[in-house]
Symmetry: C2
Subunit: 503 residues, 2 copies
């Protein structure tokens, strides 16, 4: 989020922790960890003060870098006994502040857990440690013609442990599912120091589905120490269809029509005119700059499957009112088509001192409506917004451009972002598709959920971590916070957009 | 399970409930329900005394048949206040006794919740009440060219509420996923009478994934009152490949090779010689009776996709050592190929007074090994077993044939079944693929899970239902029960099969 930095002031959750004796915790941890696994000097702590949500910074009290599961167990037992918060961290690429440190807590960095335990090509499973990078799993599986499908934009850097914590998505998740659909088993440690196996390599493990519960729990239920993921055969071929539309609503309808025709492409992305203009200057992908919106539709499979799907997609796009339709002729052109989409975030950084990336979801059929609503908000907040969407999933990434140095702009950008999220919920969607809630969207959780749902979340949290020490203050707001914030739950009702039909 | 009936004696969980005042409960419920919604006479209770696990029978104390969610809330509040167990029931087709009544409890029959609330063909979602039959959803969606994919064998009778409770599977789940992958949102009522919305129609609802937690929870966390399911486009065409093998191990390897080749068929089933012989006598499907095992491979999609997949499947099967390969020429032949597979259970009933259907899962590559182990057990227990498998999922349905009237046979059948399940776990699989644990496999849960996992299950249960009133005595054994039963956890260790490499 650019250059501006808010030092986070201790919130309600922190009051309990202010009496923690830092030296006593340091001593206790030093007794179970070698010196290279424990950081306590200011200069060593500084690099850990934020994750991908760089606008929010907080020095951790201490950083632990364990090397073994047994050390993780010891660290958690000590922190549990001494009432010390623990924030687990992978590569720190979270865009919602999920790994932001706690002022009175231990940052549990899993960077040393980077072993690929085994790749089983027959069972099509990889067993890896949580600090293994997403992309490294596919690299290890490549000799067997296999890969790991979920592909967050940060896949070169982000780790599978963080992917599990955030239930990470990506372009390919439309066809191949989110992290939760591609993880078979997680081994983890609860705050009490108990090692628990969640899920199994077998179909439909009996008992409650704690694996799904853990996936996307934003590091609040357990610390992951080993992950088994499903591998898929690398598609023989991929081609990309690029379609230009003169109207955003018509482009949105084309997305719904592709899905309605029973086609699930390997990727289905949308960019508006402001986005194509921003990236074209940067990477020269050759996008049609006069189009109000473009769609990128990826088809993968055997050559025969790809040929057939490309033909069907093109036919639907034509019928839906596309102007120009281009089909990538070779791998180089396919990568060029995608280069622009993948450069959208850095391109926003090039044309604006700061930007704020949102992550709401809406039903696909409402894409056009949402784009028009955002255009109206641009005028009202006097800020530009460029729009890139995982359109097939109805997952929006509006990038609100602002200058934190200009008085009032950051506050306007935040209000703009909050209104997009609240409108997403009112349209039948949600406040996050894949980036998580973290600290960033915790107030919007009060809009998304009612009291009964929030109460259930707190009860489930207490089942795993009764003292509330794992990643406190993230993801799930207290009922008090929602009541005091005055935000109204809109999912079950129809505020603040009474004109919208509830789906 | 045939004709023999064990009246269930009150277990450890029932001791707390023996002081319940039946008349007081009846009066309290009569105050909130019309007379047609409450059954208390013996002749009215009798039809509800068992589910699909007919060998276990238990009269409920009372049966409530609510018509509205508000009545469900009232019933649960009354039972919570009076400490009365509640067992929710759909169509009662559970094969594991998941809906078996409780002697001191109210059976909450959801049979009157059979409204299809709406079908939205654009969003491809159906919103239905829990008492709607699985097949009825596809029937309602058919005019839009859509259907609901999970297809348990009982789909004509079983209800979506029960499907959610058991995370039901079926032949198509290899390609299209289990219930948990096809349900978007469940509205339910907790034991305290709180209405909670689990999940949403949007991608990846934020907060903990309580929807996945509820799915497959065997009616122990909440009572479902409304379900939103994903609809898929009906495939244009389906064809079935039938392959005969002279060796079960080779047939098992062929299954693993199809999946390893990156093909995910719409169905991939295996039957051994005893199974084909039993069904051939019954439905005359034309199966090759000299084969040690046959595979049925269903390919669906557009005509081009089907043609290509059938060719690839045939090639892999040939290379893997199939003898005869037949490809269905028309819809009539395709249905005939499947008729035998679908008649396997009734065919077992024809050739044996009783049978016991198991539901373990194993890694696909170990199918042949498992079949040989079962053959050895047949000799040791002196009982016949016919084998039908959802082979693509590694989900076994061995049908152990016995005569409950013959002294000792039922006990031998149960020991045989338990050994199959324990061997499944030792091979890296699980004790149930799709039928649930219920009362039937509760002791095997002690083999599948260790203390830490069981303790987490109990904590999660307590988060939803602290008094333990929803479906008590099912699915999750107490730690005491496991300790007293003397069953050893084998997943994490290597007992009782030290010769097996742990996967």
């Amino acid at each position: 989020m650019g250059t501006s930095v808010n030092d986070v002031s201790p919130g309600e959750a922190d009051v309990h922790f202010s009496g923690i004796d830092r030296n006593a915790v340091l001593q206790a941890l030093a007794a179970v960890l070698p010196p290279t696994c424990l950081l306590s000097e200011l200069e060593d702590l500084r690099p850990w003060e934020c994750d991908g949500l760089a606008a929010m910074r907080q020095l951790p009290m201490l950083v632990a870098l364990p090397e073994t599961e047994a050390q993780v167990v010891e660290i958690l037992k000590i922190c549990q006994r001494m009432g010390v918060p623990v924030v687990a961290r992978g590569a720190g690429t979270s865009l919602s502040g999920g790994a932001m440190p706690h002022a009175f807590g231990v940052l549990l960095a899993m960077a040393k857990f980077r072993k690929i335990v085994r790749v089983d090509p027959v069972a099509r499973v990889a067993v890896v440690q949580p600090g293994v990078r997403n992309k490294a799993i596919s690299e290890a599986a490549a000799p067997y013609g296999l890969y790991y499908a979920p592909d967050p934009s940060s896949q070169i850097a982000c780790t599978i442990g963080g992917n599990v914590a955030e239930n990470a998505g990506g372009v390919h998740c439309l066809k191949y599912g989110l992290t939760v659909h591609n993880v078979l088993r997680v081994r983890g440690v609860t705050m009490a120091g108990d090692v628990v196996e969640f899920g199994s390599h077998a179909l439909d493990s009996p008992g409650y589905d704690l694996l799904a519960l853990l996936t996307g729990s934003e590091g609040m239920l357990a610390v992951t120490t080993e992950v088994s993921v499903r591998l898929l055969p690398t598609p023989q071929l991929a081609r990309c269809v690029l379609a230009a539309f003169s109207d955003v609503v018509v482009a949105g309808e084309a997305v719904a029509e592709i899905i309605a025709a029973g086609i699930i492409p390997a990727g289905l992305e949308m960019m508006d005119q402001a986005a194509t203009a921003a990236v074209e200057d940067f990477v020269h992908a050759g996008y049609p700059l006069d189009a109000a919106a473009i769609l990128l539709v990826e088809c993968d499979g055997t050559p025969e499957e790809v040929a057939e799907e490309v033909a069907r997609v093109s036919e639907v796009l034509q019928r839906a009112g596309a102007g120009e339709i281009r089909i990538s002729r070779d791998e180089a052109e396919r990568l060029r088509f995608w280069a622009g989409r993948k450069a959208a975030f850095p391109a926003a950084g090039r044309i604006s001192p700061d930007y704020y990336c949102m992550d709401g979801t809406i039903p696909r059929k409402r894409l056009g409506e949402m784009l028009n609503a955002i255009a109206e908000m641009e005028r009202r907040y006097a800020l530009r917004c460029i729009n890139v969407f995982h359109a097939g999933d109805g997952n929006l990434h509006p990038l609100i451009l602002f200058d934190a140095a200009a008085p009032g702009e950051q506050a306007r950008a935040e209000a703009f972002g909050a209104e997009i999220l609240e409108r997403s919920v009112a349209l039948g969607g949600s406040i996050t598709g894949e980036h998580g809630v973290g600290v960033e969207k915790i107030d919007q959780m009060c809009v998304q959920f009612g009291e009964n749902e929030l109460r259930m979340f707190h009860r489930v949290k207490a089942a795993f971590d009764p003292a509330g020490l794992l990643n406190p203050g993230k993801a799930i707001p207290t009922l008090n916070r929602c009541a005091e914030g005055g935000r109204q739950h809109v999912q079950g009702g129809n505020l603040p957009y009474p004109e919208l039909e509830r789906f």
